[in-house]
């Protein structure tokens, strides 16, 4: 299976960006409620497979009609997840992965995956790594 070079993660929380304009690691925290039976915790993203995915993602609407990603979105290069997986503290443990998971209303949907057995300190560190690796921030114009 081939994956696009970039993925997009939506910004839903008010504190997603710091006052200095950097991405808070809050954006990439893995939540226990998203744990799956196969031993992974999932975190939703959209694969940027073509030029339309950016606007598609920004235009995603919730059930109540409001924008799903009120603050905007961030772009992450897939190679950053691969690099993270290759680091000495994570290597050979395959703690991180990613997948495509098309949905009826979103063919670009996928997930960043983290092994649910990972310790809390490691989870926090990985979230920080992902936030630090963001290549572009796209802020929604209010």
């Amino acid at each position: 299976m081939s994956f696009s070079d970039n993925l997009l993660r939506g910004l839903t929380i008010p504190d997603a960006l710091t006052d200095e304009g950097t991405v808070s690691s809050q954006v990439f925290q893995f939540k226990e409620e998203h744990s799956r039976d196969d031993g992974w915790i999932e975190q939703s993203i959209n694969w940027e497979e073509n030029d339309d995915v950016l606007s598609f993602t920004l235009d995603q609407i919730k059930d109540d009609g409001s924008f799903q990603f009120k603050m905007g979105i961030v772009r992450l290069e897939r190679k950053e997840i691969d690099k993270l997986n290759a680091r000495p503290t994570i290597k050979n443990k395959n703690l991180l992965s990613y997948e495509k998971q098309p949905l009826p209303d979103n063919c670009y949907h996928g997930n960043i995956l983290l092994k649910s057995s990972v310790s809390k300190p490691t989870k926090r560190m990985i979230a920080a790594n992902l936030a630090a690796a963001v290549s572009k921030i796209i802020i929604r114009e209010q």
Binding site: S24, Q26, R87, P121, A128
Partner: protein, 170 residues
């Protein structure tokens, strides 16, 4: 045992030394002192313009979890105390950004110190013994991934090491 600090001129590294070994001008005549001959950092006023913990401190007011709040306050005080002492000694401390912070959905309080090529985190977990710190960097600094556990109210050596890392790389 009380420590003071010295700073190397070239590397800017700060290291602790036993009190009374430096800055004789700061010694208090023990015959007239009520507290002894050591610098009491608790009595140093935090300069408002240098208060890097203020934003994170204010953010704690949004939670009702007293245990997490108390632990976070201890840590924030430790950080600010060290910075204040270093500035009091006129150490070459670069302009440090303010701490960012947020409450995770599980009730933990996560503090981030974000720099251009690295970021430092302090995680006060709902289960306090799981509280931890990390340093992560980009490839320019060698893709650092370091982490460890925090020790309630006793993180001075760790924080000195972290601040030295900041001074060397910020």
């Amino acid at each position: 045992m009380n420590f003071s600090y010295m700073q190397e001129t070239d590397s800017k590294i700060v290291f602790p030394v036993l009190d009374k070994t430096i800055h004789p001008s700061l010694w208090v005549d023990s015959s007239s002192a009520t507290e002894g001959a050591s610098l009491k950092k608790e009595y140093l006023q935090i300069p408002s313009e240098n208060n890097i913990i203020n934003r994170a401190w204010q953010n704690l007011n949004t939670s009702n979890n007293k245990e997490v709040i108390n632990e976070a306050r201890k840590l924030l005080n430790e950080i600010q105390n060290l910075i204040t002492i270093f500035k009091y000694y006129d150490f070459d401390i670069c302009a440090l950004p303010k701490l960012n912070s947020f409450f995770d959905e599980d009730g933990s309080f996560l503090i981030e110190w974000i720099f251009s090529n690295f970021r430092i985190g302090f995680n006060i977990e709902s289960k306090i013994v799981d509280s931890s710190w990390y340093i992560v960097s980009d490839s320019k600094l060698g893709d650092i991934n370091a982490y460890g556990l925090l020790s309630s109210g006793q993180n001075e050596k760790l924080l000195t090491w972290i601040i030295n890392f900041i001074l060397s790389n910020a």
